[in-house]
Amino acid sequence: MDFTLPDEHRMIREEVRRFCDEEIEPIAQEIEDEHRFPEEIFDQLADLDVMGVPISEEYGGLGGDTLMYAVVAEELGRVSGSVALSYVAHTSLASKPIELFGTEAQKERWLTPLASGEYLGGWALTEPSSGSDASDMDTTAEKSEARSASERSGAAAEKDGDEWVLNGTKQFITNANVAGSVLVKAVTDPGEGYGGISTFIVDPEEDDGFEVTTVWDKMGLNASPTCEIKLTDVRVPEDRMLGERGDGWEQTKKTLDGGRISIAAISTGLAQGAYEAAKEYSTEREQFGQPISKFDAIRDKVVDMDRKIERARLLTHKSAWQYDQGQSVTRSSSLAKLDASEAAREVAEEAVQTLGGYGYTEDFSPQRFYRDAKLMEIGEGTSEIQHLVIGRELGL
């Protein structure tokens, strides 16, 4: 059993960290204050081949493994939760499914620009009235010729050759307003339950009827756009369906298996960033004539941070490794996500406390990590849902 990262991964971590420290960290608070998506950062990340780490080289990716991807996501999280979140939504949610489920032609058309970083991607599952219970969605996709065949009332069916017509509202969609493609989940076969959902590749620029109706102001992560989108008679040709009709839910489960690893990795990074800030401060700040790290109370906080981060990282790397071995990761990725997201919130909170009043100001990073960490317990399945998943895996 070898716990050391391979040389290649270490070198990548080192260089990505250097980039993050020099290019992202200095603007990390500013982009939050301005609620600004840092396009220039993503252009640079594209130049450095970061935007397609776990995607095969054939389609413009780096051809790296999931462990490498987790290492990169952690480094981004260590300086900016926003950059990291937009990055993993782009990679795990918007790109990976096309690689896993797309046809050759779809990969060439839709995956290559994503993996090479020409533009970002989004993934739209959640709806205003369907979150944790994600399969209970209202967005529909109807085949154009369906109208004459069925006389269902209220159905937005149309008759017009080989097209699908999408209607509905999607909620909290990361990157939707900056994306070159969004994978939209929609019901194609009402009444079929899990088997009635399909996935469509939508082009926000070219496809009429795609509208970003809200960009949310949030507790944190404000440089990563979270959008409400409205689909009104969005017509897409047949070849925009990803995989088979009715595969949408199975794809979602597989997508989230990998997605959870990436959220765990970001969480580890957020915790690491908060820990570093707290550790440094604790050795410099003096009260009662000594560095505050010399007080048991503060030392214990920093030690606990170290313990939690180590645990989160081990779980994350283990799950990434299992993914790379082709093993099932439902349990391990869920455990990693549950643990790392909690660790991130706890570590960030204690980092704020370690900095005292300064920790509460925006001049110091712990408050940012604290805000950002909270989302990790919500997105891609809340902690409550992770308990549900793990409980099921344990046969409870």
Partner: protein, 265 residues
Amino acid sequence: MKVLVTVKEVAAVEDEFQIAGTSIDETYLEYDLNEWDDYAVEEAVQLQEAGIADEVVAVTIGPERSEETIRMALAKGADRAVRIWDDALEGADLLDVGAKTAILEKVVEEEDPDIVLSGVQADDDGFGATGVSLADALGYEWAAVVNHLDQDSVESGTASVRRELEGGVEELTDVELPAVLTIQTGINEPRYASLRGIRQAQRKEIAPKTLGDLGLDAAAVENELELTDMYEPETESDATYFEGGPDEAAGQLADLLREKGVGAQ
């Protein structure tokens, strides 16, 4: 055209460290590519990208551990690397300029480059002499502290360079190739290694060589230098606050600078 870049892994100490005798324990050290060499590598890679150089070779003197650092030069675009190490070098706590020159001279003779780029100095021992000493040993022309290189000139067999002299004076010089240029920071903007570059670098060659492989024996690298002591110098800080309006403060500042010798020719 072939470019040889001399690179070195240097140790930097962490904020808090302890000196034991004449060395600092490994736990306080972080290794990195020498800053000046990073610029030299960039300059070489730019020559290659401009189609002027067709091969960039990095050479280093260092233990196996240094491969990780040297590989960064490969990740940024160098084609291959040569790494010299030997039991005879293991014991020395300081490798002097003469020893480095002797080794690098042999490598240059083997590789026969058109141009050798080295850093002005190394961050750790800071002799600032290896490049020029190497040129002298080889009978090459040289230019030290180069902060601009006219790439087109290189193609015609003469390197037109700008050198940084003392006191903010700069000099334009033409140097016949083959030559050694010692590269100053700021000559370019070193790139980040792309992840693809890093992955490709894993497969690039770093050829290990011993002194014997170069036709040298231990006597060739015998040191004239001995490390006798190591300590942290006392740091002194001296702050002066100027009172009064801008005019007054500027006057006081000018007096002080004059007093300290700034502006004196």
